[in-house]
């Protein structure tokens, strides 16, 4: 896959939404230009790169972490003071289902975890050679 084919695919799937198309093209071009290195993009950074609104970026990220154009993988990290813990899918899923996030080290619930957990985006399978 290359940037042009990805942009074309996105344009077909989002034919009725010009905002997502524009944001998608900007983000896809960035991702393909950076595909050889490590990637760790915050949601804020996605907004900047796609030059769009938070709402458009959310819809775009949802699509690009999916099945048809998997250019991104969504992950989450817990940040408390200056310490960072990347969270595994099963930990995040548990929190989404049960409303409690267990601290990776202490194994006890993190109070107000939603304020301390941040999404970030890695390369998806579509970008990995």
């Amino acid at each position: 896959m290359n940037a042009e084919s990805a942009i074309h695919k996105l344009a077909i799937d989002w034919a009725s939404d010009k905002d997502v198309q524009a944001a998608g093209e900007a983000l896809i071009r960035y991702l393909f230009s950076e595909r050889s290195g490590q990637l760790h993009l915050s949601f804020r950074r996605l907004i900047e790169i796609s030059n769009s609104s938070p709402g458009v970026t959310f819809r775009l990220a949802q699509y690009l972490t999916g099945e048809t154009l998997p250019l991104l993988k969504q992950r989450f990290e817990l940040i408390l003071d200056d310490d960072v813990w990347e969270l595994e899918d099963h930990q995040v899923r548990f929190a989404a289902v049960h409303g409690q996030l267990m601290h990776p080290d202490t194994g006890t619930p993190v109070p107000h975890y939603k304020e301390h957990v941040f999404p970030f985006y890695e390369k998806g399978d579509g970008l990995v050679d």
Partner: protein
């Protein structure tokens, strides 16, 4: 030994839940989310005749492995004659039965712990084909700080003292640590594996380590000066080697430059390699020689479950003050089993 008591003891001892869950998976047991749910799961598996033996034996093995390996600050000595040292220590390291020994392998309960020794005391010895191990327990003082919820102050307190932006709770308590001495008469290596990483400062752990070295040397006095523990293995040269070796991933690096810079960098993910960080790699290629004085490296566990870390905690001072910089301890972290620990040793020795 009660399986649930062992599991609860691991939590009480501050073992990382992630490390415990990796240990469970390496032993084909199924953890749940957090300690409480996992203990509930273990309880239900123990009540099931099909799985009870697996969980009972597995948790026992995990407790032992995390006591011997886990996360330790380790110093290594090459012995003139490890067999002689072992024979002498086997004779003199008599397990305590009055204090720590009464409860071992579990930690002492609070009131009894407060009366126990602050110096490492032998509680268990084990003689194997390749060498002997000695487990020593001690009572250590811990000060824990925890940010409390914003609304945790009583209204009267707010009225008397005003509002605060942050409320920090300070807990002062005693904890029990489990250090390990290993004398391997096949390789001639003596290891002093100190517990407490992540709970005590490295300085406090090293203070206890020095006490232990003195105590062991006192036992070895009869053999003569040549058998004393001195001149431990210096890992400073290993720092550059680990950075240059392609395997594993550099997770943290501290280095100086010829142009008066001091740099500290780390990755925020286990799978990331700091050498591939664009900022670092560009700077490294410009700077030429990196005068690294501290490094952390991470590998996938050879068991296929979990990650293991090696940290060589040098300081700028150690590099600056002598012509032969010394890093005399290695932090061998997140080892869920002997397989993990041996893997790290193979990178180190």
């Amino acid at each position: 030994m009660n399986t649930i008591a062992l599991t609860e003891a691991l939590q009480e001892r501050g073992i990382s839940f992630t490390l415990f869950s990796y240990a469970m998976k390496q032993n084909n047991l199924a953890p749940s989310q957090g300690w409480d749910l996992t203990i509930a799961r273990i309880t239900s598996e123990l009540a099931n005749p099909k799985s009870s033996a697996a969980y009972e034996n597995g948790i026992k093995r995990i407790y032992s492995d995390l006591m011997y390996y886990g996360s330790k600050v380790v110093r290594f000595y090459i012995s003139k004659d490890a067999a002689k040292v072992r024979a002498l220590l086997d004779k003199h390291m008599v397990p305590d039965t009055q204090s720590f020994g009464k409860s071992f392998p579990l930690p002492l309960p609070g009131p009894q712990l407060r009366k126990s020794s602050v110096n490492p005391t032998c509680v268990f010895t084990q003689s194997l084909k390749s060498g002997s191990t000695y487990i020593l327990c001690s009572r250590q003082f811990l000060i824990e700080r925890e940010k409390l919820p914003d609304d945790s102050l009583e209204p009267q307190v707010v009225k008397d003292y005003g509002d605060f932006d942050e409320v920090i709770g300070i807990r002062k308590r005693w904890i029990q640590l489990f250090d390990v001495v290993l004398v391997n008469d096949k390789t001639g290596v003596i290891e002093l594996r100190m517990d407490g990483y992540g709970r005590q400062s490295l300085a406090d752990i090293e203070k206890r380590l020095e006490w232990l070295v003195s105590a062991v040397n006192a036992q070895l006095a009869g053999l003569g000066k040549a058998y004393q523990l001195k001149g431990s293995i210096n890992f400073f040269p290993k720092i550059a080697e680990l950075y240059d070796a392609a395997d594993g991933r550099i997770s943290e690096l501290e280095h100086a430059t010829d142009t008066a810079g001091i740099h500290k960098g780390k990755t925020r993910k286990k799978k990331a390699d700091f050498r591939e960080d664009s900022f670092h790699s560009a700077a490294a290629s410009t700077a030429g020689t990196l005068h690294a004085y501290a490094v952390s490296k991470c590998w996938d566990s050879p068991t296929g479950v979990g990650y293991i870390d090696l940290k060589l905690p040098g300081t700028l001072r150690s590099m600056a003050t002598t012509s032969t910089p010394v890093v005399d301890v290695a932090c061998i972290l997140n080892c869920a089993s002997e397989t993990d620990y041996s893997f790290v040793l193979s990178k180190l020795l």
